[in-house]
């Protein structure tokens, strides 16, 4: 049953090898459509990272968190403050990323501790409020002491760099030329594979089973001796630290952070990725994250030509039309696939039993 170390049948091995090869050449395939598409792929992976982090809180432990973006923001701002001309600090990434994880983890516990008694929607609104509080502070902490530079945000943030090897510039390795976004792709790929492995291992561990028990019935979980308080805090802390790391990479990749990137709608989008894909099911969450990142971008390229082809002119504002279609897609998917696009087998079975 061990999904990582157990002996793999030949066919599965072939599938995995092919998938790995596809992932390795993906940035070069995407580059055919321009570097913009490589960046979109980068963001898809970053959102997979975030969605998997939120999946620990929402999917595994069943705690509805609408303020997840706050941890992403904490990670991003920490990187921005420690590696930019704003304070004149330029720490290397192997210092900032672990620090980002720790600080975000601290914030996770800070949020988790007062909300332990809350259930369902009360928890949702408190986490939402927490996210807003963090964003408002980032927006306003430019006076009297300028910490976050307010709504203008922080610019000229250092990229990820190992020695002199910067991830933001074009460079040639082994005779192949890599663009900045392509290099970030491989970095993100390594990180996200790590996160996926941690997630899979967690799910089948004692901790993962404890979370599942809490999700299904908290009272029963307590009764069989699970320390629900510590387990819930652990879920918040782990989810938060993943968010913190993702935030750091985001800041480095963009070279710029501002409070605008961390609004409530972002939290909601990540939650939508988790739910749309299939809560608690790792492949489903990955699918949801990729789909919800790529779909709005693909629509961006599609709405204008399609309108021209059908009506001969651009009738509706493309930006709002693409979001409109996106919103409709959310509704329709949930309407016809209430458990998500790719729910876990357990979940599918439960639903089937209920409707019988």
């Amino acid at each position: 049953m061990n999904p990582l170390l157990g002996a793999l049948p030949v066919r599965k091995t072939i599938v995995y090898v092919l998938a790995a090869a596809a992932l390795l050449i993906l940035p070069f395939v995407a580059a055919l459509g321009g570097q913009a598409w490589v960046r979109i792929v980068d963001f898809a992976i970053l959102y997979v990272f975030l969605a998997l982090g939120l999946n620990i809180v929402v999917g595994f432990a069943g705690l509805l968190d609408l303020g997840y973006i706050a941890f992403y923001a904490v990670g991003a701002y920490l990187w921005a403050l420690l590696a930019s001309p704003h304070f004149g600090l330029h720490l290397p990434f192997w210092v900032i990323l672990p620090l980002g994880a720790i600080v975000a983890c601290f914030f996770g516990v800070l949020l988790g501790a007062p909300t332990l008694k809350l259930r369902g929607d009360y928890l949702a609104i408190v986490t939402l409020g927490f996210g807003e509080i963090v964003r408002i502070f980032m927006n306003n902490l430019n006076a009297p002491i300028n910490i976050t530079n307010g709504p203008q945000g922080i610019t000229l943030i250092d990229p990820v760099a190992i020695g002199d090897f910067k991830f933001s510039t074009v460079s040639t390795l082994f005779g192949i030329t890599f663009s900045g976004p392509q290099k970030y792709y491989y970095l993100l790929l390594v990180l996200v594979v790590g996160v996926i492995i941690i997630n899979i291992r967690l799910q089948h561990s004692r901790i993962g089973r404890a979370w599942q028990a809490i999700r299904e019935d908290e009272i029963a979980a307590k009764a069989i001796g699970i320390n629900t308080r510590n387990m819930k805090l652990l879920a918040f802390a782990m989810g938060a630290s993943f968010g913190g790391i993702a935030g750091g990479i985001f800041a480095a990749m963009q070279g710029f952070v501002s409070p605008e990137s961390f609004s409530l709608i972002e939290s909601i989008m990540i939650l939508a990725m988790v739910v749309l894909g299939g809560m608690g099911h790792i492949p489903g969450v990955i699918l949801g994250a990729v789909l919800l990142t790529v779909l709005p971008e693909a629509l961006r390229y599609a709405v204008v030509p399609v309108q021209k082809a059908v009506f001969g002119e651009v009738l509706a504002d493309p930006e709002s039309l693409r979001m409109l279609i996106f919103g409709l897609a959310l509704v329709l998917v949930m309407r016809f696939k209430p458990a998500g696009l790719w729910p876990s087998p357990d979940r599918r079975r439960e639903l089937a039993e209920k409707s019988r």
């Binding site: 009360y122 709002s320 039309l321 979001m323 409109l324 919103g327 509704v331 949930m334």
Partner: protein, 307 residues
């Protein structure tokens, strides 16, 4: 002292608006256990419809009271249809689905409505035609206008009407029964679908009224205004104990007061370190503190441990 009184007046007016919107959330939640995230957008559309109708009728030379009245009727009508179809499209097909599913459709609908509004009314701020001549009154060194009085009056009357409806009519009895136990209510001959539809419709009409009041009071509207308003109103509903009508009203007024007083005094309290632009965090900080000590809100009944 006059700053205090002034902020209390401002807070009461703002709170009355929050309370009206919060009722829409709490009614739907009380009956279905569902957060209707798109409710804020319904309010926004109410405001924009009213602006369009009133501006148009005033241009045609209609008297002010008629134009205003038609604006309210139009806004209420549009929101009524909107609330009803929202439930039919996004929520009814999903009864019995996992709990988070309707939350996502609600978010989807909210995105759809917001962008639809932007396509119709554009990105720019719209001004509400000033249909009421503003007169200012003074009491104990604090000023208030007749518009503020109107907002509080409309809020008070509509809440009174709602309470009458829920506690004194047959439909209200059906609503309360469905909220307690939909299955048993069904056995007693209550048509749950009709009750739920009417909860959405009533909530949306209240939302439309609130939207018109927002327009009249602030004289400005925008396709994105529904989001923050909805968020605050939902916070108010939770603060009072979600699902509880009186709680939503109290929560709304309380939230308005806290925000106004907080914004008025935070500068003095922190020695100028934090300014009034931190207004928005009060709502959430107070919410977190209240819920720490009363996990089901101020007036919420303690629910069973299985949510």
């Amino acid at each position: 002292m006059d700053i205090f009184l002034q902020q209390v007046i401002n807070g009461l007016v703002q709170g009355a608006i929050y309370a009206m919107v919060a009722l829409g959330y709490t009614m739907v939640y009380g009956i279905m256990g569902l957060i209707n995230f798109a409710h804020g957008e319904v309010v926004m559309i109410g405001t924009l419809v009213a602006i369009t109708v009133v501006t148009f009728l005033l241009k045609l030379g209609f008297p002010v009271w008629l134009a205003g009245g038609m604006g309210i009727v139009a806004a209420a009508g549009v929101c009524l249809v909107l609330g009803w179809s929202l439930e039919r499209i996004a929520y009814r097909p999903l009864r019995g689905a996992p709990r988070l599913t309707p939350l996502i459709t609600a978010i989807g609908m909210s995105i759809v409505l917001q962008n639809l509004a932007m396509m119709i009314w554009g990105r720019n701020y719209m001004t509400f035609p000033s249909i009421i001549e503003k007169t200012q009154y003074e009491i104990g060194g604090a000023a208030f206008t007749n518009v503020q009085v109107l907002v509080v009056l409309v809020a008070g009357i509509s809440m009174g009407g709602l309470l009458f409806l829920v506690y004194r009519t047959k439909l209200g009895m059906a609503m309360r029964a469905t909220a307690q136990n939909p299955g048993v209510a069904g056995l007693m001959g209550v048509n749950a679908n009709r009750v739920i539809s009417s909860a959405f419709v009533i909530g949306s009409v209240l939302g439309a009224l609130a939207g018109v009041m927002v327009g009249v009071y602030y004289e400005i509207a925008h396709y994105q205004m529904g989001f923050m308003l909805g968020l605050k109103a939902f916070t108010a509903a939770v603060l009072g104990g979600i699902g509880n009508l009186a709680g939503a009203m109290a929560g709304g007024v309380l939230l308005g007061l806290i925000e106004a007083l907080g914004a008025g005094y935070i500068g003095d309290l922190t020695g100028g370190f934090l300014g009034s632009h931190y207004q928005d965090i009060f709502a959430f900080v107070v919410l977190i503190f209240v819920l720490m000590f009363r996990p089901s809100g101020l007036f919420g009944e303690k629910t069973g441990d299985r949510a």
